[in-house]
């Protein structure tokens, strides 16, 4: 028993010592990189999307016709895009006439990437459908693109793909809550993307201009914008105009939205 404990302890020590030395030596260069994911994910996605199209009876969809491309990011702007983890996000764009892309031009996939180069990707149901779908024969079958596994070559091409997709600015506030001075604020979020989000938000209550606020939000972060002018009493709703100068908005560069003021 003593020899057993000694041997296991010694082996662990060796592993840790070598590990420490190696990590100290080169910073632990991982084979899990953005470029490799950006090359691997669209291939797997396109193959599986074509399978899905076949199940649904959509004709003319082939992996090649989709022209799928991806841009991947780990942990937003604050983290380097390298190494395994469950905080990888990939934006994938493709062309399917039967299923047009939203204005931003891509769908988002969340990835759990392992150190061995294999990953599990899950897509948004809005674009790829739910876990199960009904095929042409009327059977309920597993949706191949809703969630799938893939592996990339850990020694594969690691030159940057140059795929850049703009960050999507979106309004996350759903109900206005004026403060004691009757001023309102709006929460914006900036999604995964190459650029971060910049632009201007202006608000109008009926005919009263409440002013505008500029914003500059890094990717995968949120910001709370305070409208400087108090909302006049008796206002039912406030109209907002979101003008995005960097990145993209929910409906293109200029989006309009209206939110009701709480009663009383």
């Amino acid at each position: 028993m003593r020899r057993f404990i000694i041997s296991v302890a010694a082996a662990m020590l060796v592993v840790l010592a070598v590990g420490g030395a190696v990590v100290a030596g080169d910073g632990g260069g991982s084979s899990v990189t953005r470029a490799r994911l950006e090359r691997s994910l669209p291939v797997a996605f396109a193959n599986l999307y074509a399978d899905q199209a076949k199940l649904l009876g959509h004709h003319g969809v082939t992996p090649a016709s989709l022209h799928a491309e991806a841009m991947c990011d780990k942990g937003g702007a604050v983290e380097d895009d390298i190494g395994p983890g469950s905080n990888w996000n990939c934006l994938v764009s493709w062309t399917d006439p039967a299923n047009p892309m939203p204005p931003e031009g891509y769908g988002k996939f969340e990835l759990d990437v392992h150190s061995n180069g294999c990953y599990t990707a899950g897509g948004s149901s809005k674009l790829v459908g739910y876990q199960t779908i009904t095929d042409t024969k009327g059977d309920v079958v597993t949706n191949p693109v809703s969630e799938f596994d893939g592996c990339f070559d850990p020694n594969g091409d690691n030159t940057p793909t140059g795929n850049l997709f703009p960050s999507l600015t979106s309004v996350t506030t759903t109900a206005l809550l004026p403060d004691a001075d009757h001023r309102i604020s709006l929460q914006l979020s900036c999604g995964t993307g190459a650029t971060g989000c910049q632009g201007m938000l202006s608000a109008v209550a009926g005919s009263t201009k409440l002013g505008s606020v500029s914003f500059d939000i890094p990717e995968e972060q949120t910001a709370k914008l305070r409208i400087p002018t108090p909302v006049p009493a008796g206002t039912d709703a406030v109209d907002f105009t979101l003008t995005v100068t960097r990145g993209t908005g929910p409906k293109g560069p200029v989006s309009e939205t209206s939110l009701d003021m709480p009663a009383g």
């Binding site: 057993f4 592993v15 990590v23 084979s31 599986l48 395994p84 893939g150 592996c151 070559d153 850990p154």
Partner: protein
């Protein structure tokens, strides 16, 4: 009572030219014979054939597929995926254990039975005995792997069915080529399996205790797996003996990549040579005082 046996033997011409030097084959035969007489060896062989049937039946009857392992999401409806799921799970600790049960014991059992002095006072050298044991342990490891692989693939296909397989690039692999790929994936386990056999041999020689010889490689395998899965120290991965267990992934991608398989040859060979050399030196220099 015979008294003839007690008479001094004048050296015959045969003794002078080759005084009964046992050939390597004789030591191999002896080690094989001992292994065959051991209950554990027979149990392992039978287990390698029967256990996959039970595993395949149990997984097949699950209402939800085990999605957290590669190919698990297709395992309940595709026999090839089932065979690869079993492969993925087996490589975590079953394969190291399978070989360590014999290799971790093969030297230590001589200590346990006190029989080092029995065999080393014959005409066989320590080196020949060492290599005979090493060869028998490696051949046994490969035999159990072949049986396990054959049984797993055969019963997965029989019970779950042979349908086209979705590969790791989302591509569809026709059943005909899936058989070859799945078999090759299983065959690629031979390299790390030999590595773990040599590791178990080293522990068997060094610890002189069968329990250590069996448990230590398995525990070490789990530790290496954990280290290999951690982020930040992935430059260690090529040096870990558990990395070759994942080299088959490239076979099921499109385009196929074989870099990890080549690396696994180097890694496994490195571990095997290092462990065997250390074990050999320890045994050569050791004072046999027990028994």
């Amino acid at each position: 009572m015979t008294t003839t046996v007690a008479q001094p033997r004048t050296p015959t011409s045969e003794q002078v030219t080759d005084p009964g030097r046992p050939r390597f084959g004789a030591a191999l035969r002896w080690e094989t014979r001992k292994l065959r007489a051991q209950l554990r060896a027979r149990a392992l062989v039978i287990g390698a054939i029967l256990a996959p049937i039970a595993v395949v039946l149990v997984v097949h009857s699950q209402p939800r597929p085990p999605k957290d392992t590669l190919f698990g999401r297709f395992a309940t409806e595709n026999g090839f995926a089932m065979a690869l799921l079993v492969l993925g799970v087996a490589s975590q600790w079953v394969l190291p254990l399978l070989t360590a049960i014999v290799a971790g014991d093969i030297f230590a059992s001589e200590d346990q039975h006190g029989t080092w002095k029995t065999v080393l006072t014959r005409s066989i050298s320590r080196s020949r005995l060492f290599w005979a044991k090493a060869v028998v342990a490696v051949v046994f490891a490969l035999l159990t792997l072949v049986l396990l692989a054959a049984s797993t693939i055969a019963f997965s296909v029989l019970i779950v069915g042979a349908h086209p397989l979705t590969g790791l690039s989302g591509q569809t692999i026709p059943a005909s080529s899936a058989v070859a790929l799945v078999s090759t994936a299983w065959a690629s386990m031979a390299l790390p399996m030999v590595g773990f056999t040599c590791l178990a041999l080293l522990f068997s020689v060094w610890s002189r205790n069968a329990a250590v010889g069996i448990a230590a490689p398995v525990v070490l395998g789990l530790v290496m797996q954990l280290v290999g899965a951690l982020g930040g120290i992935e430059t260690l991965r090529p040096f870990l003996l558990t990395t070759p267990f994942e080299a088959w992934h490239g076979l099921l991608a499109a385009p196929r990549f074989t870099g990890p398989l080549l690396e696994s040859v180097v890694t496994s060979a490195g571990w095997s040579v290092a462990c065997l050399t250390a074990a050999f030196l320890i045994l050569r220099r050791r004072d046999i005082t027990g028994g």
